[in-house]
């Protein structure tokens, strides 16, 4: 399996500081973006803590093969062990940010979104809290591997507003979940099997506010390198006003080969098909 990735963060045209943070670690195959919120420097602190702590704990627990007793909080039986490492790291980051925010006046109201992706040869884990997103581009289609935790997306799920109405809703930036605002956090986590030529995008709302899913699909599918893709995304955001910080990580996956089908294998498949066809036929004949 070969991975090429690139990450970029841009302050934009309207903001003075950059409250986004990211980490792209090709060795660990672990990627995180975070969009901080809270006055003064608090937002920057929150997103940095989230990115660093989640990456660090994932590395430590993976290397050590940590058991469920080592983790923070109860393990989730619906997830793989690595999925639980990621879940646990997000919980821990949430607790740290929450305690800092409630004990230090300067950090009051501090919080952050997070979107994280871990890639293994036979497993991909995607987790998110807030409105930072993870996309998968595969076979010419785009799929979201994250769930937006905003009032608007809850309204869409309840069927109160349409997707079109949601795009211009004044509530579209109001989060229902983040890291920092409460003691417990419940991220959405998804697991899937990677495929050759998969492309993954992690991004903050600076991108998705100004660039549509269709545009993200087209640009990602056409791109020839992760670096160019990241640059093109930021250029487009700036051209459209760049009112927010924008952070993008692009990951291109290659070299996941399904075994080559040699002549012996092909014959095998033919025999197998024939075998099943005969068995099916026989079953029909039998009373």
């Amino acid at each position: 399996m070969l991975i090429k990735s690139a990450g970029i963060t841009d302050v934009g045209l309207k903001r003075e500081g950059n409250e986004d943070a990211y980490s792209a670690d090709d060795e660990l195959r672990f990627y995180v973006v975070a969009d901080g919120m809270g006055g003064h420097l608090a937002g920057e602190v929150a997103s940095r803590i989230a990115v660093d702590l989640i990456t660090k704990t994932f590395r430590q627990w993976s290397l050590a093969g940590a058991s469920s007793e080592d983790l923070f909080g109860q393990t989730d039986p619906s997830l793989s062990m690595y999925g639980n490492y990621l879940l646990s790291g997000i919980r821990l980051a949430n607790r740290v940010i929450h305690e800092l925010a409630s004990s230090d006046e300067r950090y009051q109201g501090m919080g952050t979104t997070v979107a994280a992706l871990a890639i293994f040869p036979s497993l991909v884990i995607a987790a998110n809290v807030g409105d930072s997103r993870i996309y998968l581009v595969r076979d010419g289609g785009l799929e979201r591997l994250s769930k937006d935790h905003t009032i608007v997306s809850e309204q869409i799920e309840m069927g109160i507003v349409s997707v079109e109405e949601a795009e211009s809703s004044p509530l579209r930036h109001i989060l229902t979940k983040n890291l920092g605002s409460s003691e417990e956090v419940y991220p959405d986590i998804f697991e899937l099997i990677p495929a050759n030529n998969d492309r993954y995008i992690l991004c903050t709302d600076g991108l998705t506010d100004l660039v549509s899913d269709d545009e993200i699909l087209d640009m990602t599918a056409m791109a020839n390198s992760p670096d160019h893709l990241c640059r093109d995304f930021v250029d487009l955001v700036l051209k459209r006003g760049g009112h927010d910080n924008t952070t993008v990580i692009s990951i291109f996956l290659t070299g996941i080969q399904k075994k080559k089908e040699g002549p012996i294998r092909k014959t095998g498949i033919m025999v197998a098909d024939l075998w099943f066809a005969i068995r099916k036929g026989l079953r029909k004949i039998k009373p």
């Binding site: 309207k14 969009d35 919120m37 039986p77 619906s78 997830l79 793989s80 999925g83 919080g111 979104t113 036979s122 497993l123 807030g130 409105d131 595969r138 076979d139 799929e143 979201r144 591997l145 994250s146 769930k147 009032i151 809850e154 309204q155 799920e157 309840m158 109160i160 507003v161 809703s169 004044p170 509530l171 930036h173 109001i174 989060l175 229902t176 983040n178 920092g180 605002s181 409460s182 959405d188 986590i189 998804f190 697991e191 899937l192 099997i193 495929a195 709302d205 506010d209 009112h243 927010d244 399904k258 075994k259 294998r265 095998g268 498949i269 197998a272 098909d273 099943f276 068995r279 099916k280």
Partner: protein
Amino acid sequence: MAKFVLMFNKQVIKEYPFQKESITIGRKPENDITIDNLAVSGYHARVDKTGSEYILTDLQSTNGTFVNDKKIVSHKLSHGDNIIIGKHTLLFLAPEINEKASASQDATLDLNKTMMLDTARQRELLSKQQVLAPTPKKPKKIGVLSFLDGSKLGEVELRKKLTRIGKASTSEVRLSGLFMGATAATISRRPSGYTITFTGGMTKLKVNGEVVKGSLPLKDFDTIELGSYKFQFYQKEVE
């Protein structure tokens, strides 16, 4: 400070200064603005202060919320807006104009800025909303594979985020067969629903008779075939 003036038949009933981050409007006495009239839902609407903007949201009320005669779901309030709830009118008066002018720049910025809603308050409101909602929130569903033949497995609930189907001992759904892949297929639970992916081996994966080489979103009652195994996918409600 912004305020609301409650009126009925062009008569002023009461003034409500906006002193909190959010207020609710409805028939029940727990609301900040109580309107005792059967045309008004228990919890009819809410107003949230975000930055220097005031956002009015209808809480799926039976008779709807109108601003200047237009039905709204959510609406950014401006000075002088007439909010009609049942037979009553609420007049919205923004803070002093000069105060507003200096804040207006921040306001546009604020709306583009990501903010966290106070969770305790929001949970409270959402739970109220659920009680009121004519269609209750969708119950939680879980995918099930129901074997039609070729196996005595019966039904398998897809409780994990990723279910591997194949010959390998690590598979959640273990199937035998000479040509069955170690992991022949996987079903993963994604934001959009359950997706089946062909993973490997010489046994073909078919969904509703069509060979699947990549991924396919699963719909209720799709028939899945892996060699001589045949099963049906559907989703059932769980507690």
